[in-house]
Amino acid sequence: MAKADKAGGKTERPKPDGPAGKLVAIGEHVTQQIREGESPTIELTVRSLSNVVYDEDTQKLGVGDKTSERSFFNVAHAKKFLQTLEVAAIAKSLLDIGKHASLRDVFYMAKRTIPHTKVNVVDEQTESDKAIEDLEILTGSTREQLNINANKMGSVAGNVVIEDAGDMIDWSKLGSGGWSIPSNVESITFRKVSAKYVLYMEKAAVWERLHEDKFWLKQNCIIMSSQGQSTRGVRRLLQRLSTEHKLPIYVLTDNDPWGIYIYSVLKYGSISLAHMSDELAISDVRYLGVTSDDVERYKLERHYIKLTDKDLARLEQMANYDWFKDHAEWQRQFKLMKKAGAKVEIQSLSSRGITFISDVYLPEKIRKQEFID
């Protein structure tokens, strides 16, 4: 630091600590390179499957030690390089003023057209989201620690009482919508948890079905959902219920490669957030359905939807993941799905009656403890 100051001829400014300090360090690394006439480059840990390591002992995905260089004077990197620094500056300003912003907010804060060009700093939110993920790795902080929150997505209902920001909230008394799960669940406290297990499902529509049937009441459980791939808030909440209250967690998804991957992310961690598996992965998650065996048992074959080429490619890819490769039961499931060449949606169970899922299918499976672990 002293060296940099000498070269810049500046007086020492007070250094912020924590995440903010780490953000500043990234900037100083780059300015020093520029002063010394070196090509500005940021070293990043690779966040792709090639650098994801599956730890068999912990059953969690982790990040390997492969790094890549993001260099400004590389046409393919230049824009990303700018986006990383831009988002870092935004995050620092948030920390400086002590305010939180959503991912969408950050996108709009970064989005502008570069003067005299038709080029935007960011065109889509995925770009700023990626930059935030990069900063998480670079600073070793979660985005929540950088004062950036995801959108609320996901609902929960069940025999649980929590305290959040001074309010007591009873998950069994929140009408038809349930409690919507915030992106940051670190500050909530569980006051009373009488439910026996958690049922997490891929489809919000199925959650509404079960909520209307008061399934959670009859079964004394928690039902939770977030449309599609689960958000971090949902994953973190599930992890806390699992670790703090030892509740078993059952997952219900469509019988297709994408549904099974939702389960995979919950259990082992995701490839893009492998660096955060410790906070997010939950080893005590079980796959309840819909399995290929269910299809046979409940005669769902007539609701088969043919697998597309994309589905098949994804299926192939998943079968080769380290954490599934040697898993006999999953390999059997993949084989059955491939053999059928078709997928089945959760809702196809409704063909046996609208309340079949809550009256028969789920209670039976849970009673018989029929799941894939």
Binding site: G8, K10, R13, L23, V24, I26, G27, E28, V30, T31, I34, R35, G37, S39, P40, F72, F73, V75, A78, K79, F81, L82, L85, E86, A88, A89, K92, S93, I114, P115, T117, V119, V121
Partner: protein, 624 residues
């Protein structure tokens, strides 16, 4: 009928007997089927054999009659093309005559619109003139001339062209051609009006006289014909301009039917390398030709005949040929039988004979080709290649190629192809020409251009191909396209590839520096933003960061490289380039309409110059 019966009888008899005579053998092959047919005919026909009836109609066909009816074979398919063909034949003849006499050609071409779609074509040269006795035959007898039998690189080949032009004029207007020729200072000019007797292929002198002509020597021909004049592609204008491009030693003064005068000045006083006449080479001589030569020769022994009538036959080689043919060298050429001649022809192939001399050719040369192209096309890169002469079937030939790339040329259209044979521009039948096939068969993608399948490449490119040979194999008498002989096509391709590689190097370098510039521009765009973000993160001085980053881009150096790469073309002449391209008369007469008219008039559309290749390709695709 009678034959059929006989055949049946013969077939029944001993086959071995029948096979003794050729005629009988043939008859014996025709068996039952012919008999049936004969029986049918018997019922239908009267007693007199039909053959006698038919015989009444069978008679000689005059070569004149034949061509009068098959005008398209000579390039008179439609009125516009007819006008061009007449001009072309007259100019080609004039240039050949001047060059033979080593006179720098001054050619005057005048087209007069006589109304009613009639034109008068007047072509005058300063050549050596033609002696009085020869004038009628040269201008009014088809297949008469000096060039057919000589092996020399020249424009005319067959002795058809100019007389066909005269005949076409006569057929369409009924008027005779007017010829005036003077052979020297102390002579009077011979002036005559000529008709062709198409039945007998004989000249008929309508009127003749001798009179003063201010010119020292030269020839002037005047032909009236039915035609149509249009500027643009495939026009007289374009033909004359391209002629001037590849004949820089020629001056042409041209007066168009719109009474505009265009002067194509002489670019160089230097006479092109003299094309030499060579004797036929044994390897390119076919049996029939050999027999005719044996019959006509002045020499008294076979040895002398071989030594003197062919190129590359030394006394030793002549003896070897005789030995290989098992004929005495002393044999009288006229006594050589067909079988003997066949053995000689075979001996030609078996005996090792040097390839014919190739110094007899007169290429345009790389330098002049490039210069001419620069005048015509404003491009950024030029390349020209003159290949060494090679021999095909005893005929020496030489290929030259020039390319003009980039500049003002359209990027999304097919490359423009300019074709020349023995310094004559070829304007029609591009699709059928060996040059187009060679261009289409060359992989231009390797040289940085676009190309789909076997089509002409797409991109800002003009390609010039010149074939010089003592005998150019045209696809037809109208001399519009070069026949696609393998060896010729191969040689053209090699020349194109050689030029293409030069182009590739240029395109590659150009792409590289432009890419560098593009990258530099991208970085420059981001620099202020990066500096700003860094300032917000670290408080560092923004301007210093901008300067630091900009110094690393090195944009000035890249721009400098680009500037030095652009060729400066001082030769380009905008007015010149416009000749033969556009028509100031109006949009419907632009080069598009020229194409269209010729496309339809040519029937199959293969005469349609530039448009032909893509059209054909499209047809081919549909069939696939």
């Amino acid at each position: 009928m009678a034959k059929g019966k006989e055949a049946a009888q013969e077939a029944g008899k001993d086959q071995t007997l029948a096979s003794f005579s050729d005629e009988k053998q043939e008859a014996s092959r025709a068996t039952g089927q012919e008999e049936k047919q004969a029986a049918k005919q018997k019922e239908a026909a009267p007693s007199m054999p039909i053959a006698h009836e038919l015989a009444k109609k069978q008679r000689d066909i005059g070569v004149g009659e034949f061509f009068a009816r098959n005008k398209h074979l000579l390039g008179f398919d439609n009125p516009r093309k007819a006008l061009l063909t007449v001009v072309k034949e007259a100019v080609d003849n004039a240039l050949d005559a001047c060059e033979e006499a080593v006179i720098l050609p001054d050619i005057s071409v005048q087209l007069i619109d006589m109304g009613n779609e009639r034109f008068r074509v007047i072509v005058e040269d300063n050549g050596p003139g033609i002696v009085k006795q020869q004038v009628p035959k040269i201008f009014a007898k088809l297949l008469y001339g000096s060039k057919f039998h000589s092996r020399k690189q020249q424009r005319g080949q067959q002795g058809i062209g100019i007389s066909a032009a005269v005949m076409y004029g006569q057929l369409t207007t009924g008027r005779p051609a007017k010829i005036r020729s003077k052979i020297g200072k102390d002579h009077l000019a011979y002036v005559c009006e000529l008709h062709i007797n198409t039945q007998q292929n004989k000249p008929e002198i309508v009127q003749e006289e001798e009179k003063e002509w201010s010119k020292e020597h030269g020839t002037r021909i005047e032909i009236d014909l039915e035609g149509s004049y249009q500027k643009g592609q495939q026009s007289v204008d374009e033909y004359l301009k391209h002629t001037a491009v590849v004949n820089p030693h020629v001056m042409i003064v041209y007066v168009s039917p719109k009474a505009e005068q265009l002067i194509f000045p002489r670019v160089t006083e230097q006479f092109p390398k003299q094309a030499m006449e060579i004797k036929p080479h044994p390897h390119g001589t076919e049996l029939g030709t050999l027999m005719a030569m044996l019959h006509d020769t002045q020499f008294t022994t076979l040895q002398q005949f071989l030594q003197n009538e062919f190129s590359r036959i030394s006394p030793a080689v002549a003896k070897e040929v005789c030995e290989n043919a098992r004929i005495l060298p002393k044999t009288k050429p006229q006594d050589v039988s067909r079988e003997d001649a066949e053995r000689i022809a075979k001996a030609f192939q078996e005996t090792k004979i040097m390839a014919p001399p190739t110094d007899c050719l007169s290429p345009i040369t790389q330098e002049l080709l490039e210069k001419g192209l620069k005048k015509e096309v404003n491009a950024e890169f030029y390349a020209a290649v003159t290949r060494d002469p090679v021999v095909y079937k005893g005929n020496p030939f030489q290929v030259e190629v020039a390319l003009a790339y980039g500049g003002d040329q359209p990027k999304d259209k097919q490359a423009k192809l300019m074709r020349f044979a023995n310094r004559v521009p070829l304007l029609y039948q591009q699709g059928a020409c060996a040059t187009s096939k060679a261009v289409a068969g060359t992989n231009w993608k390797a040289y940085g251009l676009q190309q789909s399948g076997s089509n002409l490449p797409v991109g800002p490119l003009t390609i010039v191909v010149h074939l010089a040979s003592v005998w150019v194999p045209f696809t037809s008498e109208s001399k519009e396209a070069i026949a696609d002989y393998e060896d010729i096509g191969k040689e053209i391709k090699l020349a194109l590839q050689e030029a293409g590689r030069q182009l590739q190097r240029y395109v590659h370098k150009k792409t590289k520096v432009h890419l560098q510039l593009e990258r530099a521009n991208i970085f420059e765009r981001y620099i202020p933003e990066v500096a700003n973000a860094l300032k917000r993160l670290t408080g560092e001085d923004e301007d210093a960061l901008v300067e630091g980053l900009k110094a690393m881009v090195k944009k000035e150096k890249i721009q400098e490289t680009i500037d030095t790469m652009q060729a400066v073309n001082a030769e380009y002449d905008e007015d010149w380039a416009r000749i033969g391209k556009d028509d100031s008369e109006g949009p419907e007469e632009g080069d598009g309409s020229g194409k269209e008219e010729n496309g339809t008039a040519d029937g199959e559309g293969d005469g349609n110059g530039l448009g032909s290749a893509p059209k054909k390709a499209a047809k081919g695709k549909k069939r696939d």
